[in-house]
């Protein structure tokens, strides 16, 4: 659509529609409403840039016994020795003559979970799509169909990504438990890496457990709580966590990136991973 036409359409609709109070400003808000979307863009872009770079790098994701969450489970035959917890069922995938980094095979699922997440939807619709950029600030789009059409209709399938997310949480928890080994493979040791991966698993479980689809599945869909006392109890717990879903979303995102970064650094400088015992 040509910019001029878009502008004309915009003039005719929204807060500038016929009959509404004639006010030329798109918003009269005096606070710094643009800061929040700006921060969101900043953090999400940084994450995307970092994660993309790391996925393409295809190296430094395993430092016995630590594996980066970006690469776990490593399913490709290109995976470094010891990193493939579940074996290598796919061989390896080649696209345009390049071997696809094993990270891509798995990153797509957590990515899908977050893309369809009820919290992230708010975050990216406000920041990237500016629909709206902030409350009572006119959005720059002439047309809007919400989540009624492809591709956004996929957001209705959030629950499936949630279930898949649970599988990943389990695997990453196993990774964290394996981090109680030392580089020689002996159990009963603990390092900074153990703590990093344990926290990573914890935050991810928190993010999943506080998910709106989880809340629905565990009890939200019930009509009579009184007939399901146990599920009601569970629902109240999840509901409480759910209020913190946004916090879990950000903390878990940042910590996943940090865990990967830490594993990469340990892979380059093994001494970084100090052992407590």
């Amino acid at each position: 659509m040509q910019p001029r036409l878009g502008r004309l359409l915009l003039m005719a609709t929204g807060v500038f529609s016929q009959g509404r109070a004639k006010i030329s400003e798109r918003t009269l808000r005096t606070d710094k409403w643009w800061i929040q979307p700006l921060i969101t863009v900043g953090v999400l872009l940084s994450f995307i840039v970092y994660a993309t770079w790391r996925a393409f790098e295809g190296a430094h994701y395993y430092a016995e016994p630590l594996i980066s969450p970006f690469y776990s489970p490593c399913l490709s035959t290109t995976c470094v020795e010891g990193s493939s917890l579940l074996g290598t069922p796919f061989g390896h995938i080649v696209i345009f003559g390049m071997v696809l980094s094993p990270a891509f095979i798995i990153l797509i699922f957590p990515l899908g979970f977050r893309m369809t997440c009820y919290y992230y939807r708010k975050a990216y619709f406000r920041s990237f799509w500016m629909s709206p950029p902030a409350c009572a600030v006119a959005e720059p789009h002439a047309k809007y169909t919400g989540e009624t059409k492809a591709p956004l209709i996929v957001n209705n399938g959030h629950r499936y990504f949630f279930y898949i997310g649970l599988v990943f949480n389990t695997l990453l928890t196993i990774d964290a438990l394996l981090a109680f080994k030392n580089p020689q493979g002996q159990w009963g040791h603990m390092s900074i890496g153990t703590v990093v991966l344990l926290l990573n698993a914890t935050f991810l479980w928190g993010y999943s457990a506080s998910c709106h689809s989880c809340r629905h599945a565990i009890g939200g869909r019930l009509r009579h709580f009184s007939k399901h006392p146990f599920r009601y109890k569970a629902w109240t717990v999840v509901s409480r966590l759910n209020q913190k879903h946004q916090n879990f979303a950000w903390v878990s995102l940042i910590w996943v990136a940090f865990s990967d970064f830490f594993v990469r650094m340990v892979s380059l400088h093994p001494t970084w991973n100090k052992y407590f015992f």
Binding site: T13, G14, G19, R20, I23, S131, H141, E147, G220
Partner: protein, 253 residues
Amino acid sequence: MARTLKLRIWRGDDKTGGLQDVTVEANHGEVVLDIIHRVQATQMGDLAVRWNCKAGKCGSCSMEINGKPRLACMTQVAAYPEDETITITPLRAFPVIKDLVTDVSFNFKKAMEIPSLQMPEGLKPGEPRMQQVDVERSQEFRKCIECFLCQNTCHVIRDHEENKKSFAGPRFFIRIAELDMHPLDMLRNRKKTAQEEHGLGLCNITKCCTEVCPEHIKITDNAIIPMKERVADEKYDPIRWLGSKIRRREEVL
């Protein structure tokens, strides 16, 4: 404790209008509605404004103060710095009638489109038995004072007049949720119609409705998202759809 307050009040009607500067005294502890009343009584006898209870319970004095949808009776003057000019305009999602008064009939039309509660046949007055835990979710939504700030702030209609036909808005999503979660309601197609007739799918969960709600109803988390999930159960989840064909879950739950 008086202070002098600079205001810009939008005055006009559906054809013309603009912001007018006013200077007025304000006392300690006063809210914006008090100030508007003072302007009315001393400077603009015909300044139009809706209000009733002046206690945040009736939802009449909805307007936009410094661009934010708010109840004028719940907005303390003290919240604004001494030197700040406070800008007061009517709601910007609805047609204006005069000054700060808008035509909110859209909302009453939408109310008419939501099918009412349907009690079980044969149940007589005095007979219903409901547990507190089963009514609590719906009770939250019945706190709504119909100030329509959520409707006003929702970009789906605020920024897209053409969506008004097909979108009921947050106030009526909580009404639908209230009825769908009512322990005795017999009408069981509310999820389907929420999506297909009332425009639930247009909502992209940007949560402005929740942000502006003076009753602090968790419109998005407790009504819209649960309804979206219930819709998904019926329309977008093949496994549950299959399950519901095999055994009649609705009875069980």
